[in-house]
Symmetry: C2
Subunit: 468 residues, 2 copies
């Protein structure tokens, strides 16, 4: 991340941000329900509704809130930022943002900002040949599989390594937070050197419910969550309350200040020992701003908002009315002009060109690929001719280790070894013939008790994982 913010640019006003949020909430809800009349220019009728309702509304408003505020600070500070969306089943939210910022149009030229384009965009969600209901790397800006809960946070760390100017925001849903891979990945900052790598900004999105069950995080008090993440080594800050957008604005600004402080210290040669990175805990109602109640039972703020909040829409006139009232509550007529184009102040909330999170080159591996220099294999050849039967030779893993040591030397900022079962245990200790070590940011006892480990410059990362 740029350690000094660029001169202030046009930061969207809170009025425009509120309108932007209404637009992406609307588009997310519309994608789940509508195949026609997608801007509700006419009264909603059953034939405007998709035959098969698919999608997950519950997590969408939180994703939108994060996306909008990341856009805000990207615009203001000219940030190089990308987003890993752990709850990738909330694809309607990401798609809505990608549509508005124009990233989709880079790949789907027909998704224009007009009536034809928006009709096609909304209909294409969960539609044969259209966009899937979960994120996957085929969606611009996405580098992980959003249907596989557990890996978002580790993926975010992977994206930040060796990209010092990159901010990798990562939404961790409170369902995903229950998984083992995520529970272990919170230790990631212990392996991230703020001098050579970028920042990971986790946003734990606590909306309290999974498909039908409360979440663990949702049942924990602020004190418990604060203790847990403090123990993991983070500085947690809560985004909550009646004005979530205002709270998110304050939280996001605080986060950037903390990140800049850590990075500035590291890069000025006076690194902070054991840096405590900032993170956000977003408490929002599940399906925030959605349908309030159905049949006397709450939908917003309950598990009922997880997927399609109200089903049986085509045959049940009451349900159809609920959906229409809800979608109209975003007042789409204020957000799109008569040609179906999003209003200018809403589009002005989006970053431009490669600053759009859907177009960040880091999300398109091929665009930033750097060649891996490989030493000639012959340098590591074993001469076997002339040896007698049974005469000892060097083991193949030892030779591999020597080869990898050369690769480390020739690719000083482009090659890392992730070692889930200990380099030494796997007989790859020869890697340390290179001037490298295991990078570790937390305190290590005296030099003679541990070897090949320290906070600066190591290309090896070791953390135990289960053998399975």
């Amino acid at each position: 991340m740029n350690s000094t913010p660029a001169p202030p640019r046009t930061e969207p006003s809170s009025v425009s941000l509120e309108r932007y949020l209404r637009a992406v909430h609307y588009l997310a809800g519309a994608q789940i329900y509508l195949r026609d009349n997608v801007l509700l220019r006419k009264p909603l009728r059953a034939e405007h509704v998709k035959d098969r309702l698919l999608g997950h509304w519950g997590t969408c408003p939180g994703i939108n809130l994060v996306y909008a505020h990341l856009n805000r600070v990207i615009l203001r500070d000219d940030l190089d930022a990308m987003l890993i969306t752990g709850p990738g089943h909330g694809a309607p939210a990401n798609l809505a943002n990608l549509y508005l910022e124009g990233s989709l149009r880079e790949f789907y030229p027909e998704l224009t900002h007009d009536t034809v384009g928006v009709e096609k965009f909304v209909r294409e969600f969960s539609w044969p040949g259209g966009f899937p209901s979960h994120l996957y790397p085929g969606i611009p800006g996405t580098i992980h599989e959003g249907g596989e809960l557990g890996y978002a946070l580790a993926t975010a760390f992977g994206a930040a390594f060796d990209n010092p100017d990159l901010l990798v925001a990562c939404i961790v849903g409170d369902g995903e937070a229950e998984t083992g891979p995520t529970a272990a990945a919170w230790h990631g900052t212990k392996f991230l050197d703020p001098m050579e790598s970028g920042a990971v900004l986790p946003i734990l999105h606590v909306n309290g419910y999974k498909i039908s069950n409360p979440t663990i995080s949702g049942s924990m008090s602020d004190d418990e969550l604060h203790a847990l993440f403090t123990g993991y080594g983070w500085q947690p800050r809560f985004v909550k309350g009646n004005d979530l957008s205002a709270s998110m604005a304050v939280g996001m600004d605080w986060v950037l200040g903390e990140i800049r402080g850590i990075q500035r210290a590291a890069r000025s040669g006076e690194p902070i020992a054991q840096p405590r990175w900032p993170m956000l805990v977003l408490r929002s109602p599940k399906g925030w701003t959605g349908i309030q109640e159905l049949d006397g039972k709450p939908v917003e703020g309950s598990f009922r908002a997880h997927q399609v909040p109200v089903g049986d829409v085509k045959k049940n006139a009451e349900h159809l009315r609920l959906v229409e009232d809800w979608l109209r509550s975003y007042r789409p007529e204020e957000l799109f002009d008569e040609h179906g184009a999003p209003k200018a102040d809403i589009l002005a909330c989006c970053p431009r060109a490669q600053r759009r999170m859907g177009c960040n080159p880091h999300a398109f591996g091929g665009r930033l690929r750097r060649p891996l220099h490989r030493p000639p294999l012959a340098e590591c050849a074993i001469e076997i001719r002339g040896k007698k039967r049974g005469e000892p030779e060097e083991g193949p893993i030892n030779i591999l280790a020597k080869y990898l040591a050369k690769v480390v030397v020739q690719n000083p900022s482009n090659f890392r070894i992730f070692s889930p079962d200990e380099l030494m245990s796997n007989k790859l200790g020869g890697v340390f013939e290179a001037p490298t070590q295991r990078n570790y940011q937390w305190p290590i006892e005296g030099d003679d008790r541990a070897e090949h480990v320290g906070p600066r410059g190591g290309r090896v990362l070791e953390i135990c994982r289960s053998s399975f």
Copy 2:
């Protein structure tokens, strides 16, 4: 666990405990090194040493300390207790305790308490046809695979469910603590009803090093560990300092008091909401009491103590002397009589019969197996004859759910459903046709926001896991 301690029995004196610890430390070290002269009645010579040295010394002393103090309270309070040893590569420690308490002899009658028995016992470790270097369920008292790091804590919870009088102690090594499965399993108390299930007592053993690298927990301050486990919902207490046995005694007594308080409240009909169970964090030097130094570098308290602390013993006279001096430091001549039998006061530190952790019936599934009542399949048959082609039928998973609902009813304390990917998502919601629910001990918001979940009586446990 018995909510009221039985009248005090013979609690071993601290003098005997110290001697017991010396005996098991000695036997653990001897197993790794010796094939002959195992009580060191003669000066140690190269031919007494095993040809291939295998085994992990580093974790052994900690396992011994835990085992000895569990024995102490089992004896004093007539506890029904078992031990899950996460660092199962420390098998020499468990085997030493199992030999002394006589559990091994139940299955290997030749492992007598005399010179012949102890010679055979020590030699058999990591020996063709003998005991393996890692625990596995073939070792008395063991119900998990000690070579697969990650699952010990979840296994301990599994053992405690529906066994209200059982105490399941679980050593979690600081290597294993880095794994995802363990990181998630700390939430286990949120699913354990102290009325119907037993207690899990985790002992996080922080000895600071893996095979060659510092551990994450070892690099965390007491404050960080305290915050982390408080956040998870535990009451952590540290066992550390110069007199580890005294600190462990105080810690173990405190633990039992806390457990009894939680269980007594739950079973008297006035359960403590959100019970905060006790746990211990044992900070010990790696390879505690072992060889101090080799070639000017520390062994005890460093990664060098992880496996065989000093190699090349048969050819290097200096190394041989180091091993002999170390083993003699336990003064085996004080611990075993002239017939090779452990002294009476040492044996008196062991519980008797089924109270021995190696003989606890809960560690032998077959001995406590209760029949699973299964309703006749015919009750859930689907009539397909007479149906027209394409006529809708009930899906097979729905039928399975109905069947499982009957199984739940017929096996009220003998059958649980562990649902890592949400019962509803897997279309098994029909299970809730039985009068059951998802058991969850932490606070749930108002009834109308979540269904089929609560702290009493539920036979379903849901926690998200990664799809992999």
